[in-house]
Structures are given as structure tokens and as C-alpha cells.
Symmetry: C2
Subunit: 118 residues, 2 copies
DNA sequence: TCCTTGTTTCGAAGTTCGTCTAATCAGACG
DNA sequence: CGTCTGATTAGACGAACTTCGAAACAAGGA
């Protein structure tokens, strides 16, 4: 298999491998990675992103972990502040969904400008 | 411009948005993101990945920061243990280079299964 | 061999992070 | 209006992380 996909990297080139990263830019990016640097938050994002309809209710998320509801809420807040997910209240429940722009931006970060030149 | 690139995602689909992430897998991935969740390490990786020849000497890296040599060495060790870079001693100096497989793997994580079908 | 330069390891201080319990806020329903 | 359920906020504690200085290790040259 080829593993080749046509993806929108969201920019012209990969900053991590191609451009110089200044200090403030590095700090901002580190904040996003810090939000992802936790097994619980990673699984939360995975559950939300792969949920049917693209969104998941908090009530479903809390049941998937052996953690208290406030702890889950805390992790969701971290992901929200990092711009990776958004939350919306509809009636009784709060629904979360992933922010595709943030994900494609991260994908572009690691995509080398010219992976395997002939 | 289209921002479209043909990239090797390193796998058939994006686990973060497509597959279920089990606990051990999430913990392993969180370790990688934890290694990247620091402005200094992010800039170190950026310097190494974008260096001419694909590799950078520690002596060059220490000069780019207002940090002591042991601190830089510590950060390089974290990146090395995360599998993002590799180090090799040639004579007096140690040279570091990025591991492209790790970067493409991360890129594939954030690539949605079908982003923008033609 | 000894000394000099470059790199890593070790131990410690200060800070940040993850988790909990208790309390508060937001809607829905009698 | 009162109450019940669901979700978040506030405060606190223990663990982990970042950074440093000092010391140990590796390689090269006088």
C-alpha cells in the first residue's frame, strides 16, 4: 500500500521542518501540545473526533473513564482553551466537537516540504 | 493557492479521528506530545530539522538559547527518548538529526480520513 | 601523560500539573 | 416555585517537571 493522501495542510510549507520558529510562536505551539500531552485528553479528543455526527455529549465522555466528572470537565476546558475542541450547550446536555482547522494545522506542522525527492 | 500536498501519512487512516485509541496507545502518544510541549524543545527540534544537511551539533544549539549546557542536554535527551531525534557522536561533538518516520506518523494522526474529496 | 574543551549525569529548589472533594451554575419538570 | 439532574468552578494536596550548579565522563592536543 502507498499511504499517500491528498491533504490540505493549511499553509504553504511545514514550519517545524522548513521555517524558523521564533520564541513566541514556539510558546504558542507548545501550549497546544501541552494540551495534547495527557492520555485522558488524547482519548477525549479521539472520542469526540470519531463520534457519530462529529460531536459527543459530556455524559458519554465521563462514562468512558474512571475519573470524576469535575476532572473530565477540567480536561475538556484545557482542550477548549487550546482551540482543539468547542463546546455548546443544547438544553440539558453540553456537546463537544473537534475543530478541524486546528487538526489540519497540526498535520501541516509535521509534513516535510519534500518528503522523498526522486 | 490550494495548500494541497501529497503526503505519506505512514498508515491507512488517522487514528485520532478515525480509530479508537486504547489506553496504552494514548499513554504512549501522550509521551511524544509531552516531549513537544515545551518551547525550548520545539525550537530545538525546529533547529535540528531545518539545519543544513539535516543535522545539527550540540555546540550550535546551546548558543541559540539563554540556558546552560546541562539544560539543553536534558531537553535533547527528552526528545531522544521520545523517538523524535537521534544523536550520534563523531569525534568531539555530538550531532543530532530528526527522525522523519516520527514526524510523518504525527502528521497522519491529525489527517482526517476524507478532508476535501475532489 | 596531563590539560583543555565539549557533553552528560546527579542532586536540589521552585513551579506547574492532575486529581480529588465541596460548592455553584444552568435547565428541565412537577 | 422547588427540586432534580447535568456540568462547571473553586480550593487543596501530592506528583511530576524545569532549571540550575557541581561533578563526572569522553575525546583531542601539547
Amino acid at each position: 500500500m502507498s499511504n499517500l493522501e491528498l491533504v490540505d495542510t493549511g499553509r504553504c510549507c511545514a514550519p517545524l521542518t522548513g521555517l524558523a520558529l521564533d520564541e513566541s510562536e514556539a510558546a504558542e505551539l507548545a501550549g497546544v501540545f501541552k494540551a495534547l500531552a495527557d492520555p485522558v485528553r488524547l482519548r477525549l479528543l479521539n472520542l469526540i473526533a470519531s463520534a457519530s455526527g462529529g460531536e459527543a455529549c459530556v455524559c458519554d465522555l465521563t462514562g468512558a473513564f474512571d475519573l470524576t466528572a469535575p476532572t473530565i470537565s477540567h480536561h475538556l476546558k484545557v482542550l477548549r482553551q487550546a482551540g482543539v475542541i468547542t463546546g455548546e450547550r443544547r438544553g440539558t446536555w453540553v456537546y463537544y466537537r473537534a475543530v478541524p482547522e486546528s487538526l489540519t494545522r497540526l498535520a501541516g506542522l509535521f509534513t516535510p516540504p519534500v518528503p522523498t525527492p526522486a
